[in-house]
């Protein structure tokens, strides 16, 4: 345990920065690579100053060549390096599915353990300020389906640092997915080295009647919903499903066994998404405990339109979660009041009102 004195508030982005700084200092085999890593914006400041501190060899820019660079990182990893490869948008990583899935995910397995691929791939999910159809995709379900990849989606600054350090220490390719709206959010973060498990979820609060399992930014929305519900006397259970794949659902199963009701809140498209796996796993394993149909709260099955007006209503949030909770609990009469309580102020397309893109 870390003493209170050591704890400071850091943003998710700052926590990542600290993780990189620690990892680079501790282990020469670690290097960071990505388009813009050493540039003035430094991947939303998460790599700021590191090139100056550790040199261009360890904190590297790269050409626009997502598949090739993924393969190059895999090759370096096979030689014992521990690369961290960054894409400023998850969408760009679609170019690298071949290397990720055919090579990275399988190398250790298909060569019967003769070699391994300690590689972290950071993917940032865009949202807001007109990110539109090609800069906002949250396709963690694709990676989660691939045996041999680990997929994690931390929701807090504490987890960001601890899971990044765990991912760097892990001997497998880890897909590390960051919702961009998490970057400014603050949390207590110890300054020392620590890790957070890459597997399984964390029970954030105990309660009754409903379990909300949330992924990534939806954890924030789930907690907003939970707080608002608490104010009207309803205490739900909330699970932060930070370790996506391989799926370790014990904490969810135990929770649903207590509450009997399940809502899964995801940041991706609904159909064939990770929420389906959670619902299926619960249906299989908690069948006798379930008191009501499980629910999914996730994006609609179409791309994000760019226009803020058109995008209004695209992303579900605390309101939708709370509405589902009240419906499940048969308290429909309180929905309207709850929706008013949870109304967000300011424009919908930015994480905070002083945010102005431009990208």
């Amino acid at each position: 345990m870390v003493s209170a004195a050591e704890q400071r508030m850091l943003s998710f982005a700052e926590a990542l920065h600290e993780a990189f700084d620690l990892a680079l200092a501790m282990d020469d085999r670690v290097f960071i690579m990505g388009e813009g890593v050493p540039d003035p914006r430094a991947i939303f400041a998460t790599t700021a100053g590191l090139a100056e501190k550790y040199g261009a060899d360890r904190v590297r820019d790269m050409p626009l060549a997502e598949n090739g660079m993924t393969g190059i990182c895999i090759g370096a990893a096979l030689m014992g390096e521990r690369p961290i490869l960054i894409h400023q948008r998850l969408d760009f990583a679609l170019l690298s599915c071949d290397q990720l899935i055919n090579n990275g995910a399988k190398w250790h397995y298909m060569f019967n353990g003769a070699a391994s691929v300690p590689l972290v791939i950071r993917l940032i999910v865009g949202r807001g300020w007109g990110q539109g159809p090609q800069h906002s995709q949250s396709l963690h379900a694709l990676f989660a389906h691939i045996p041999g990849l680990k997929v994690v989606m931390p929701a807090t600054a504490y987890e960001a640092k601890g899971m990044m350090l765990a991912a760097i220490a892990d001997n497998n390719p880890v897909i590390f997915i960051e919702h961009r709206w998490l970057h400014p959010l603050q949390d207590q973060v110890p300054s020392a080295y620590y890790t957070v498990s890459l597997e399984g979820g964390a029970l954030l609060q105990r309660g009754e009647g409903v379990t909300v399992v949330a992924f990534s930014y939806m954890v924030i929305e789930a907690l907003r919903a939970a707080r608002a519900l608490e104010e009207v006397g309803i205490q739900i259970e909330v699970v932060n499903m930070r370790g996506v794949s391989p799926l370790r659902a014990e904490v969810v199963l135990q929770s649903v066994k207590r509450t009997g009701r399940l809502i899964v809140a995801d940041i991706g498209a609904t159909s064939f998404g990770v929420a389906a796996e959670l619902v299926a796993t619960v249906a299989e394993h908690c069948f006798d405990s379930l008191l009501a149909p499980p629910q999914r709260v996730a994006n609609p099955d179409y791309p994000l339109p760019t226009s803020p007006a058109a995008a209004a209503g695209y992303y579900p949030g605390a309101v939708d979660i709370a509405t589902r909770v009240l419906t499940l609990l048969g308290q429909e009469s309180r929905i309207e009041q709850m929706q008013q309580r949870l109304q967000r102020e300011g424009p919908e397309d930015v994480p905070q009102s002083d945010f102005h893109g431009p990208f």
């Binding site: 003035p40 914006r41 626009l64 007006a309 990208f359």
Partner: protein
């Protein structure tokens, strides 16, 4: 030889795109155009020169920095602005924003921001033309960054293999976001790499609109004549930040004085001076042109800002065609 009327038209286009983008930059900080926007200020001569060599039957694809590609091709200005303001009247009904433009009526087939993403599309369009035995041409614009993406090489290979009527227009502005070309590619001429793929290949000054037009005419003639694809590397420079309305030289990623040097080589003012000196343009005509375009821009802003915000409820439509 180029006729005076054609020169005036080229000038008009350069001026119009410059004024449009400057107006966009001015208004961006009202935060009403809420989407990433990559301006072409300083690079206008490429799109203007290339478009001048095309016929109505030809098709064009752009990339993330596509306002100039779209406008030079004749894309609707009001619908562009409406798109930037996220209105239903926009060229994508608000679904695209600055990074996704389309105007099929003038053969502007689409622009998208995944680097390299539209290059094979133009090759495919050329394949369709070839299959239909048409004398049409497909054009795609892209940046120097594209050369790093494998899909570009796959596209060049296929275009050369089948001698397809496609023109690859590389706007080499020396940067990919904040990263200089030398940090991304070895020192060797871009266009020679295209030539090694078996393409006819040329390079030129992307800030000289008549030079660009001449190169593009050569490429178009080759394509229509069945001589296959051409690769054009055009040197130019982005004046403002990679994405957004401002200058960003204070960030220090570009050498001191580099911007100033390129601004001296401004495609617009250079050409303006030339035509004034040659007497093809008069100072009054310049003033009038600025005024007329200014009015057009104001009216487009008016159209866009008074557009209809699309309804979120209708956005599930048109997913499948």
């Amino acid at each position: 030889m180029i006729a005076g009327a054609q020169q005036q038209a080229l000038y008009q286009q350069l001026l119009r795109i410059r004024l449009v983008e400057e107006a966009l930059a001015d208004r961006y900080s009202e935060w009403e155009m809420r989407c990433p926007m990559h301006l072409s200020i300083g690079q206008e001569a490429v799109a203007v020169g290339v478009s001048a060599a095309l016929g109505v039957e030809d098709v064009v694809f752009g990339n993330h920095r596509a306002h100039a590609h779209y406008l030079a091709r004749g894309g609707s200005l009001p619908r562009l602005f409406a798109e930037l303001y996220g209105m239903a009247e926009g060229c994508c009904g608000g679904r695209g924003g600055s990074m996704h433009l389309i105007d099929p009526e003038v053969g502007f087939m689409g622009s998208t921001p995944i680097v390299g993403g539209t290059i094979p599309l133009a090759v495919g369009a050329a394949l369709a033309m070839r299959r239909a035995d048409q004398k049409r041409v497909a054009v795609v614009y892209f940046g120097d960054g594209c050369f790093e993406e494998g899909v570009v090489h796959e596209s060049l290979n296929y275009a050369a293999l089948h001698a397809l009527p496609v023109i690859f227009v590389c706007e080499n502005n020396g940067y990919s976001v904040y990263t200089r070309l030398q940090q991304r590619q070895p020192s060797r001429p871009l266009h020679q790499l295209a030539a090694a793929h078996g393409l006819h290949s040329a390079c030129g000054d992307g800030n000289r609109v008549e030079e660009v037009r001449a190169l593009a005419q050569m490429a178009v003639a080759r394509a229509r004549g069945g001589d296959g694809p051409t690769f054009l590397e055009l040197a130019t420079y982005r004046w403002r930040e990679h994405c957004g309305p401002n200058y960003d030289d204070e960030l220090g990623y570009r050498p001191d004085g580099e911007l100033a040097q390129w601004q001296e080589r401004c495609p617009l003012s250079h050409y303006e001076r030339q035509l004034l000196e040659q007497g093809i343009l008069t100072p009054t005509e310049v003033t009038t042109a600025r005024q007329v375009i200014g009015e057009e821009i104001e009216s487009a802003f008016h159209f866009a800002r008074n557009g209809t915000p699309p309804s979120g409820a209708e956005q599930g439509e048109n997913l499948y065609g």
